[in-house]
Amino acid sequence: MDMKLPEPVEGLSGQGLNIALAVDGVHKRFDNGFVALKGIDLQVRQGEMLCLLGPSGCGKTTLLRIIAGLETQTDGRIVQNGRDISWLPPVKRDYGIVFQSYALFPNLTIADNIAYGLVNRRKPKAEVKARVAELLTLVGLPTSGDKHPGQLSGGQQQRIALARALATGPRLLLLDEPLSALDALERVRLRGEIRRLQQQLGVTTIMVTHDQDEALSMADRIVVMNHGVIEQIGTPHDIYERAATPFVADFVGTVNVLPAVALGQDRFRVGRLELQCAEGCSTHAAGEPVRLYLRPEDRVAEGSLAGIPNRVWGRVGKVEFLGGSCVAEMCIEELDDQPLQIYFSLNQMHDLGVRVGHRMELALRSDRIRVFDAKALQ
């Protein structure tokens, strides 16, 4: 698993080298009996951006709040830079935090907001002022110091919240759905900026999000969570291309799910179709029911398909236009009634003449098909 990791900021004694934060067997049961987290183990590396991704109620926010000391774990430990912080109150921990709601103090100016934590540390006035100016420049709002939060846009306010969290130079940055309250354009712009800042400063960051695009575009590694457990930890590429569980495959990106029966030797029967998958893709014995997961873009449609396995003929049923690309719903005779979602770029649409009613040949990429147990999907 090749990963580009930033150089460790500082060495640590013991076995936790490079590990900025370790979550060890954390369990959370709320007073009403709801179990939010079940034995979470996680290591966050020095300087990386880790995204906790999952649907609402999966426990990602609870985990972040436990790391921040805003919730108390029922069991398990949290170690930051070799220091056990499991039972420390928030004020004794070392992190900066940014919330979805910005949580800027409305009655203080932007400069006072950013200086809020610095002033308390009895830093000289000039030093505070310089640091505030530096941070304002860093987040691209050098002239906003005298304004009040109410005068800024949502994205600008979130930049200030970020500056406030970074002002005291914490060794860990926690982002709790920082982009969810913003409109679509602002969201995309800010996600690039947060990532740039994070890499520039090399600050270890944990971000909670339910937005897969955010996680895929920003993270060094993604932790996909569901029902209080970790489904998969990996790079964005791992998560998307090699989903470890049906949940991950389903939650991240779109996917065609085909009920199938294993025939042995990496071959599967789907409807009246026989599909070849990559070697060693499953351990299912012949006759076992499985599900095949195939992403809409994992097909070959151009050039000669001769010699490529898994060729099928299909008729275009419906076309959904998405701008630069389209999703065509293909009806494949051998699959009976189940349509297959297939991506085409707009250019491919024109070049291949894809339109409603058009009949064409495709090959489903054998190296891309993921095989899961039929029982695994709830």
């Binding site: 076995q15 490079n18 928030p90």
Partner: protein, 578 residues
């Protein structure tokens, strides 16, 4: 594939596992604060209530007598009569006051009548008056030498003293209470419903019965319970205009102050508590639904002009306002004329007597003092209490308890609270006995008696500000109390000032809570009005009542002015909007 195998996890030694976070200094301070709030409410609300229960089963020497007082009470037809009279008078007031307020609120929210703001202000004036004022005014209108005494005959009445007087006075007193609730309920209407109805060609009447009434059902329920509880536990009006018409609240007073029969008084106090507690639960259910409606997303309804309807509504509002003003007006006039009906020349002698010459001269000053002290300490105590519940962590079991106690204070009529205070604090073995007959105990009783709505105001304001301020401060290692003074308090300043004004106004007007607690040194305006009236000095009584209302009106105007200036100076950030 699962990445957990990528890195060898640091071996964590299984250590001792505590079950809660270690407490920071912040946590310790916050917890002490919470405990103080609980102690305050237990000591000044719960303990006095418990004292009543204890006294109900004791004789005056402290011996246990079981249910003797109860059986004695139930065997006395005169006293049972008081229960019946209290109930039917209260029901009658509900039947008059609530519909009257409903139509008024309907006019203010659903018509294009002119002068709506003025109508609203006039309708709320009774809130500023002691409940005695209306009774005095009605005596002047309809009493034995009243201007309109002749009108009584039209209704087959021979005298205003008794039920008719109480009902009139209480309708006046409860009208603004009902109005405020119904205004809220009616203003929650979703304009889209009416637009949908209009597009379907629905008539005005059908819209009223299918949209308006159902949407303010809970408001109506709430108004009914509030009015009923107010009347059944009010003491001022029946005392002044009730004549020989004995009701429960006056009965408590007679038992305790007149006959020093604490056991019997405790029994009547408990009886008074029953309807209050029942109303309290009905009301809190209704309010929960009301709040649910409030949070729902809706488009406010904007009335459209409709000439005949608007004219009718304007006429109604004008008439009601005229009636309301005639009451205050009569009190004012009475305070300025020499001797009704013989000498109508104007004079200031009643004011001179009430404020300088009589035994009750210090009363007005005492009331001002009570109002000022209560405004300052009450608003602080309530706001800090609400802040600790809403924004700090730890001692989770204490929070619902504080909230419950805070809500419960509304369920305890002032008269019952006052009764509890004498029984609890006057007890020779109580180390807090020194509080008895001081200004302090008056302040405490008023703070506790009016805790509920102040608490709700504070909680609402606190809920509107971001919940993560404290988390952010903690992550920046700023103690929570610094954030409280630097951010939370300034942001909530309007609400705090609102609570302070409320406390001032109720301190000026309250009677039932303090009637057991004053001493000659701490006699209050409302108590003085009652005593002056009893001594036949109706002019000075009216003078003092007028002073009270005018002071409260002045304070409200001053408040409006001051907050405007203050907000301009300190809340510049608010105007920038978003």
């Amino acid at each position: 594939m699962n990445a957990s195998a990528e890195l060898s996890p640091p071996r964590l030694l299984p250590g001792k596992r505590p079950h809660a976070l270690r407490l920071s200094r912040d946590d310790v301070i916050a917890r002490h604060g919470l405990v103080l709030v609980v102690a305050f409410l237990v000591l000044f609300l719960l303990a006095p209530m418990a004292a009543i229960f204890v006294h109900a089963v004791q004789d005056n020497d402290g011996h246990f007598v079981g249910l003797t007082h109860f059986t004695g009470y139930l065997q006395s037809p005169a006293l049972l009569g008081a229960v019946w009279r209290s109930v039917w008078v209260s029901v009658t007031v509900v039947l008059v006051s609530v519909p009257m307020a409903f139509v008024f609120a309907y006019a203010l929210t659903r018509s294009c009548a002119p002068l709506k703001g003025t109508f609203r202000l006039i309708a709320l004036i009774p809130l500023l008056a002691p409940s005695l004022l209306s009774a005095i005014a009605f005596i002047q209108w309809f009493g034995n030498q009243g201007v309109l005494k002749g009108m009584l005959g039209w209704f087959g009445l021979s005298t205003i003293y008794g039920a008719p007087g109480i009902i009139l006075a209480e309708v006046y007193n409860t009208f603004p209470h009902a109005l405020m609730i119904l205004l809220t309920a009616l203003s929650l209407a979703d304009g889209r419903l009416f637009e949908a109805a209009d597009s379907l060609g629905t008539t005005r009447w059908r819209k009223f019965f299918t949209i308006t009434l159902p949407s303010c059902k809970y408001g109506l329920i709430s108004a009914v319970t509030v009015v009923f509880t107010y009347v059944i536990s009010d003491f001022g009006a029946p005392k002044v205009i009730g004549g020989n018409f004995n009701v429960l609240s006056v009965d408590v007073f007679k038992q305790v102050v007149g006959q020093q029969n604490f056991g019997r008084g405790a029994v009547v106090g408990l009886l008074l508590l029953i309807p209050s507690i029942i109303s309290f639960f009905i009301d809190s259910q209704a309010r929960r639904h009301l709040r649910a409606q409030l949070s729902a997303r809706s488009v406010p309804f904007t009335p459209r002009p409709h000439r005949r309807f608007d004219a009718l509504m304007t006429a109604y509002c004008a008439l009601v306002c005229l009636l309301l003003l005639s009451v205050v007006g009569m009190a004012l006039w009475t305070s300025f004329i020499k001797l009704w009906p013989y000498d109508l020349s104007l004079t200031l002698k009643h004011y001179r007597y009430a404020l300088i010459e009589s035994d009750f001269a210090p009363a007005y000053g005492n009331s001002l003092k009570l109002g000022a002290i209560t405004a300052v300490f009450g608003s602080m105590a309530v706001f800090i209490g609400a802040y600790l519940i809403e924004k700090t962590r730890g001692l989770e079991f204490v929070r619902p308890l504080i909230h419950l106690l805070a809500m419960l204070s509304m369920a305890v009529p002032g008269l019952v609270l006052g009764l509890g205070y004498i029984m609890f604090f006057n007890h020779p073995n109580n180390p807090l006995n020194f509080l008895y007959s001081t200004m302090t105990i008056l302040v405490l009783s008023v703070i506790v008696h009016y805790y509920t709505s102040s608490h709700l105001t504070a909680v609402t304001a606190l809920k509107q500000i971001d919940n993560e301020f404290e988390s952010v401060s903690a992550s920046l290692r700023v103690p929570f109390y610094k954030t409280f003074f630097r951010v939370t308090l300034p942001v909530c300043l309007p609400a705090v000032l609102d609570i302070a004004r409320y406390y001032f106004v109720v301190s000026m007007a309250t009677l039932s809570g303090v009637v057991f607690l004053y001493s000659p040194d701490t006699v209050l305006a409302s108590v003085a009005i009652m005593n002056l009236d009893e001594a036949g000095d109706i002019g000075p009584a009216a003078a003092l009542a007028s002073m009270t209302v005018l002071t409260s009106i002045a304070v409200c105007l001053l408040y409006a002015l001051a907050t405007r200036v203050l907000l301009m100076k300190t809340q510049a950030w608010r105007r920038t909007g978003r």
